[in-house]
């Protein structure tokens, strides 16, 4: 954990303590702070905006109720992502694993500031993630997208570290096999090289 993570966790803990005392302002700050990453995280589970919002609100409803029971065994972000993961799975059970339904999404769902390059990157990623299982997509998101360690992902998904390692390995192998072809040409790869 770097200094920025440590500072963020200290802020989260303070907010959680205030939430435990019934401070709704703290809840609002925490909600806005996590909304973006939870939306992206849950979008790896389902593409339905209403289901994602429901899962986020279920997550913070639980966080609000259980704030006083957080003992600091992990980072607050790990704790919240774990709750969100379970809420996401619950939403998946209730609403089904509905794949991307472009017709159901508004045409202008891509942010207006999204340049063509980002759109191309999203398409490339989306096609690659479609090849993975839900658990593999979640591990990839937690490691590459959010930046969690293997231990933290194991806490979030409530499974052994070995299982997380296996899911990450298989997801990476699958992506390695499909992503270059999805990129269209090799020049696209070189853009990402350091």
């Amino acid at each position: 954990m770097n200094d920025a993570d440590t500072d963020a966790d200290a802020t989260d803990r303070m907010l959680l303590q205030r939430m435990a005392a019934g401070d709704r302002v703290a809840l609002g700050v925490m909600y806005r702070s996590y909304h973006g990453r939870l939306t992206r995280f849950l979008s790896r589970v389902t593409r339905r905006a209403d289901v994602i919002e429901e899962a986020i609100n279920d997550c913070f409803w639980i966080a609000w109720q259980k704030a006083g029971t957080f003992h600091g065994d992990s980072r607050v972000s790990t704790w919240i992502m774990g709750i969100a993961y379970r809420c996401g799975l619950k939403a998946l059970r209730q609403h089904g694993d509905e794949p991307v339904d472009d017709d159901a999404l508004p045409e202008d769902r891509t942010p207006a500031h999204d340049p063509d390059e980002d759109r191309e990157l999203r398409d490339w990623l989306g096609k690659g993630l479609d090849r993975l299982s839900v658990d593999q997509r979640i591990v990839i998101e937690l490691v590459y997208g959010v930046g969690h360690s293997l231990d933290e992902v194991a806490v979030i998904m409530q499974c052994p570290v070995g299982t997380v390692k296996a899911r990450l390995f298989h997801a990476r192998v699958k992506l390695r096999n499909v992503l270059p072809a999805l990129a269209g040409d090799s020049s696209t790869l070189k853009e990402g090289m350091r």
């Binding site: 939306t39 905006a49 994602i52 690659g128 790869l189 070189k190």
Partner: protein, 211 residues
């Protein structure tokens, strides 16, 4: 391009290090080692480039438009009516338990009633008899018959058939059968006399009626 001897092992190590170097949680030593390895391994360089692009793509904000303010407003509204949200859940779970218990009691009550009715309807027709109980009354027209030991089964069957009698008991310890008229219309007295007159019947006596 030349590769060091332990390329395969180094490539595996590089593969494992890539995610952590990319999320900047790897040690400085690990990062430096990977940089050196990438400088001399083209395939790992390509893989790392793809991993970098993957991380970049995954770090883009979600393209699903969800308004945080609207969601927060809904959440706060939900907090304002916790009883309404919680009450149905509690009532449902409590109601479920109560309904299950009531159902169990009803099933038991029905079972006890059925059993009681069955026992009541059976009355004193128990399959056993205590020593204090009187002997069960014999059916009207019952006759104790002792056939001769040499009588053939076919002759015995033919005799009973001709006299419209049927065996309802025996043989007891002295070899006596209890027979009753199969047809209530046939006078028992005639059957008794014919039995006594039949060769091969050692004894035929009417069963004394219970006083």
């Amino acid at each position: 391009m030349t590769f060091p001897k332990d390329t395969a092992r180094d490539c595996t190590r590089a593969w494992e290090a890539m995610p952590w170097v990319l999320q900047e949680s790897a040690s400085e030593e690990q990062r430096d080692w990977l940089t050196d390895h990438l400088a001399q391994c083209e395939s790992c360089r390509a893989e790392f480039a793809q991993q970098s692009r993957l991380r970049l793509a995954l770090s883009l904000p979600s393209d699903i438009p969800i308004d945080a303010n609207v969601g927060l407003k809904r959440l706060l509204g939900r907090l304002d009516m916790p009883e309404i949200v919680e009450a149905p859940v509690r009532r449902r779970s409590g109601g479920w338990l109560t309904r299950a218990l009531v159902a169990a009691v009803l099933v038991q009550a029905v079972g006890v009633s059925v059993l009681g009715m069955k026992l009541w309807s059976a009355g004193d027709q128990s399959s056993y008899r205590t020593l204090s109980q009187e002997t069960a009354p014999a059916a009207p027209g019952s006759i104790h018959v002792v056939p001769d030991g040499g009588m053939k089964l076919a002759d015995w069957d033919a005799l009973l058939h001709s006299l419209h009698l049927q065996v309802v008991g025996g043989p007891n310890e002295v070899g006596a059968y209890t027979v009753v008229p199969a047809d209530p219309v046939t006078p028992a007295r005639n059957a008794l006399q014919q039995l006594r007159a039949t060769q091969g019947i050692r004894l035929a006596e009417p069963v004394a009626a219970t006083p």
